[in-house]
Symmetry: D2
Subunit: 402 residues, 4 copies
């Protein structure tokens, strides 16, 4: 790319604000018109070379380096529709296909996936199992001859309705430790055993590309080669998918927060009460201050984690931290923006109503906060056992910069 | 009443759990069937003498004493549908009619209102005015001959669609201090100038009796006698309506919180993670502990405020406090219950999704938290000026019990 | 008593404010003069019939009923010196002696103890054992002939230096479940094996009657009859001592908080910044509001727990809750008062510096917060097991008032 | 310097841990022995080329670049004694002298100051003026002939007792806006009008180099040339002193927090309760998690502010933020470490007791939190007025890296 990332960032911001924002209300509707609008947006993004910025060049993306793409995600995140409009949504699935799928599926799905012509979905969570402990998942895949036979039930399969295929996490191994007992398998959605049971709204929201579905797998038979990567490596692949994915996620949350912050600050100047603008009230100034601190702290933590990943560190501790800190920041900033808008903030007259509800998901998916709290603390505490060196925050930085 | 309130409480609880809970999903739909179901529930409540328990006997209620009725509201509050099913919803409007309406309107509306045959609505908030400062309201009523001519726009008029009439707060006086410039006027909804502009969903929720509407008043002409009470006393009447009303409100929030608390505790026993029930995890125990403390604190504060009101104190400070503390308690308890349910807590499979969203309103309506913070603090601080006696929490109690 | 408790409360308040407050700085010094001042205060309290208000009449107290005495403690708590000046400090030890001590010790200690002529101390916590789990305590008492031989080390023995005797918790039983393995034994401080090792300041504070000491028990031999109550009942007796004791404690915390609150509100009127009094700043008003809510919530919770105890309930859940909520309230209110005073709040020019440091103890002694969180939650959760009735806050109240 | 900063950091850490930590208890005492110990430590630091690392080379320091020295401060901060032992304490005063003092004073004070042979002090805060609003300061300096005549009272003058001179902020101008009405003037402590009134302990702490004093200036006469910089620029110079100073301050807070964090984690492995190490309890793990998040967030915010300053930005918003966030982080981490230590954490057996009390100062000095909240919010909100570009956190970063 000739342009530096700061320029790309500006273009993406302009695109999101000028093209995507105005289309948002219509895109909510999930009708034919909304599909047309989205498809036009996608084309515009391609025309402006803003499409699939982070996908590797060899699969049709712009190949932006990781750290630069991290910054871009912050701007993309301002609108949940922008992710699809700019082709960002398929990044993790594309990379999984590219790295782990058999040739057949790579040939079939990879290009249309990257181009936004088909949509992926991902089946992990199950209704009868605590989401905090994935080793309890009950969906099984048994190899019978050359076919995997899959049985089970998943829910919160995003976009299951319109998806071309689902990647589903199944228990494939027995008599091995649970972390090595699961594999990911590709299931085309036209498989007769693949049955969408119902849509499950999230805090009342359906619609858009964010729809969540409950899906039954009833004797789903797929060829052996639908396995992604080696048997038993489902969690390892998922983890690789999650690491950078969470960075992007947290950056998009920051984009959401920035949008809420802007709405809040503008509103504070617009409204008066008791003879002066809200912007002059200390309790409102505290909203601004606290939001700024939380956003900035969350940004710096996320960027720090990103830099570590960029240097080859797995940054498990840092990623666990930003998941929890980011989700809480996201809620708090949007919540204050709503409070500043009063009753209006709860209606559909601003994007805050949807943002608020999406934000509540953040503390649950990809593992509830409580799981991250425990696992981060354990990792840190291990360094203090048996005369270990402890966890010196500064030293860790120093070695990073060595 | 022959029964003591503890017995009535048990009957109401049984009614809510056994009759109302199962009907809730159907009642969401706002179709003909849901009207029939509600109407049947109302009849059952009347048959069991659980109808309009707090309304004065002379207007067809059961005339339960204030403090006893306070406790009943906690149980009613568990389901937002129970309020209508038990005739609780019309209490404040009935009392306003009884005390301030001209004979004509009392004759016409009071009985059917108490009996649940017609529904009231209340027009206060305006879209273009900060809800924290009601003296800025812009809807006007001008007396032309024997008629009030009303112009303006209101929103968040609850149940405007099905209501028989609206009580609307209008600026009627000029050249007087703003707190004495407003009056309340009755507007039948079949008035040609009364125009429902649209429904405004609250965090995506329409439906039920909780629908909120934006309403235009375009040269609405109503007879002079539609005035409630004397001219310029709109805020005084509203305040009287609010005082005990807020107590009932806070008690109903406690009912909501109790329901969420029950759902949370049951779920903690049902689910396992990492080899033991969630109930055994300290982080979950902290959820239980914190919720119990917040519920119990909020209850005791509310009951204390109720007792003061019952003794003739206006309890402005205490009511301001419970509004803020109660709303925050409500959010926190439901929020934890959702977290314990994981993704399921966000779907419609439990009542938590709706409860969570209703809870967000609590920090906004009847004046945003920030207004109460300021006005309570000012009232307290006044007692410390000019060698005042200060605000001795214990002394205040001691004098109450004298 | 002829006077009602509201009158007594006023007299105690006057005594504390007019007699004790002015003496506080001198009482810090722990010299001969301070002893004289305290002794004069004690005499004045006796002269005004304000001495030992809550002690039973048969041991020389005023025999105030439990609930009335609860309210008195709130006023006593405003000054830590008032507790001694009014003879309140020996209540729990006096009752233990009265109920569990052999005749010899009752005869010897009870009267001078109640009269404030000798001081008690209490040896529980040990330096090498986590205070959250008392079953790990290591001090042992072995019966050799007619004597207990005690060995071990205690710390945080309050007032050990000037005390006439210590009641020490010892492991006396083997091969029994740990909760039944401990007994309390009286040790006169002139016993040759009783050795004060050092004073341990608490956040830099020594002085006054609050000094804490580390004490070694080296082959301390005391007669068999020094046992308090039956063998193995140490924890049961301690628990009985703690129940009402914690109520009094929490009430005294409320007295401390009231004092800090008063200082804060007065200061807010005194100081100006940027052209207006601090009392007019919203951030300061929020300090007042939050403090008022926390104080009032904590008061109501404590009074509710007291009423349950007064009615014979052990109120374990409620007492666990007020311990944690009260300690946090105490810190927060004092902390805000300091913030309002700026640098001055950290000096010795106001009582806040000492109050702040004492408040930090509150989250540790009598079991750290975390232990109460866990045990309260477990008790509540038990009610939800096996189709239990759950924990209905309102129902619990209703039955209380039946 | 030949060594890179990572190496220097390691050496400083080793010095602090191996030389300073063991000396801390003795250094508390402020006797002759403690002076000798400190003087030996200073010599050792000089011998190891760890002395005055951040002072410019031309005044006898090691001239470490700003960003590198930022990292060093984190390690120095672990012990408050290390600051003096390593010559860090005089940096801001040395730079003020170097840049603004007349030749006479530079010649007299600069070298011994940098070498730790004399100590500076700084007189700003006044007992009768709200510290949040320095324009109210009342100490005046009037030019009479060739002398400034200074009258007023200051307190919280650090180290006033042993200092060679004080830099005192005085009102020197009339009829100008208050921000331009103050000047800084050097006052040697042997001036007859310079009177130390008393020491004011901070939460009970005197001792060490951190003693705070109340000082009267009674007709203090000093030569005209004692003025620092031009007349009326007192606040401007103070601000320049504060900017980088606050960065160093926040880094030292992080060093304190790291030390508390280490103590906490080690203790969690050492202690058991209810059959397992504290490190295995979720509530303790949450302490670790929350502390790690707060430390890391505070670090990243501080480093980000430092980088902006290093690039010439004044970073007022970022510095206001880290002051508040850092002070709160510092308290919270130490507070949790104390809680984990139980009663021991309150004694002098660990450094936590002193750290806890010093941490409370952090929310007050250099302007109380509330002033920063307001001023940061106002600065941000200005960007949203009159179609301003707003405050885009990401864009600000992007431009920084351009």
């Amino acid at each position: 790319m000739e342009k530096n990332w700061q320029e790309v960032r500006k273009e993406v911001k302009k695109f999101v604000e000028e093209e995507v924002y105005p289309a948002e209300p219509a895109l909510q509707k999930r009708d034919e018109e909304s599909k047309k609008i989205m498809s036009d947006l996608m084309q515009k993004a391609k025309d402006q070379s803003l499409w699939a910025l982070g996908h590797p060049k060899d699969i049709g993306g712009e190949g932006m380096p990781f750290m630069e793409y991290v910054y871009i995600n912050e701007v993309v995140g301002r609108s949940s529709s922008a992710m699809v409009a700019l082709g960002t949504h398929s990044l993790q699935d594309s990379i999984m296909l590219r790295e782990y799928a058999s040739e057949k599926w790579r040939d079939k799905y990879l290009e249309p996936l990257v181009q936004g012509e088909i949509f992926p979905s991902f089946g992990m969570t199950e209704p009868d199992v605590s989401s905090s402990d994935p080793t309890q998942l009950e969906t099984t895949a048994v190899l019978e001859g050359d076919e995997w036979v899959i049985n089970g039930k998943k829910w919160f399969t995003s976009g299951a309705a319109g998806a071309a295929y689902t990647t589903v996490m199944c228990k494939t191994e027995v008599d091995v430790p649970s972390h090595g007992a699961f594999s990911m398998i590709i299931v085309p959605t036209d498989n007769p055993g693949y049955k969408i049971l119902r849509e499950t709204p999230v805090l009342g929201m359906q619609g858009g590309h964010g729809g969540h579905y409950e899906v039954a797998y009833e004797n789903v038979r797929v060829p052996k080669e639908n396995l992604l990567g080696p048997r038993g490596q489902g969690f390892i692949i998922a983890q690789k998918r999650l690491g950078p994915g969470r960075i992007f996620h947290c950056m998009r949350w920051l984009g959401q927060a920035q949008r809420a912050f802007d709405l809040m600050c503008l509103r504070l100047h617009e409204r008066e009460a008791f003879g002066s603008p809200l912007a002059d009230k200390q309790l409102m100034q505290k909203f601004v201050f606290d939001s700024a601190c939380e956003i900035q702290a969350s940004r710096q933590l996320t960027l720090d984690a990103a830099k570590r990943i960029d240097q080859g560190d797995d940054a498990r501790i840092e990623i666990g931290m930003i998941k929890v800190v980011g989700a809480s920041m996201l809620h708090n900033v949007i919540d204050r923006a709503i409070q500043v808008h009063g009753a209006k903030g709860l209606t559909d007259d601003t994007p805050l109503s949807q943002m608020y509800r999406h934000a509540r998901e953040a503390r649950i998916y990809d593992g509830p906060d409580e799981v991250h709290v425990q696992s981060v603390a354990r990792r840190i505490l291990k360094n203090y056992q048996n005369n270990g060196a402890g966890w010196d925050f500064g030293e860790r930085d120093a070695s990073l910069m060595n």
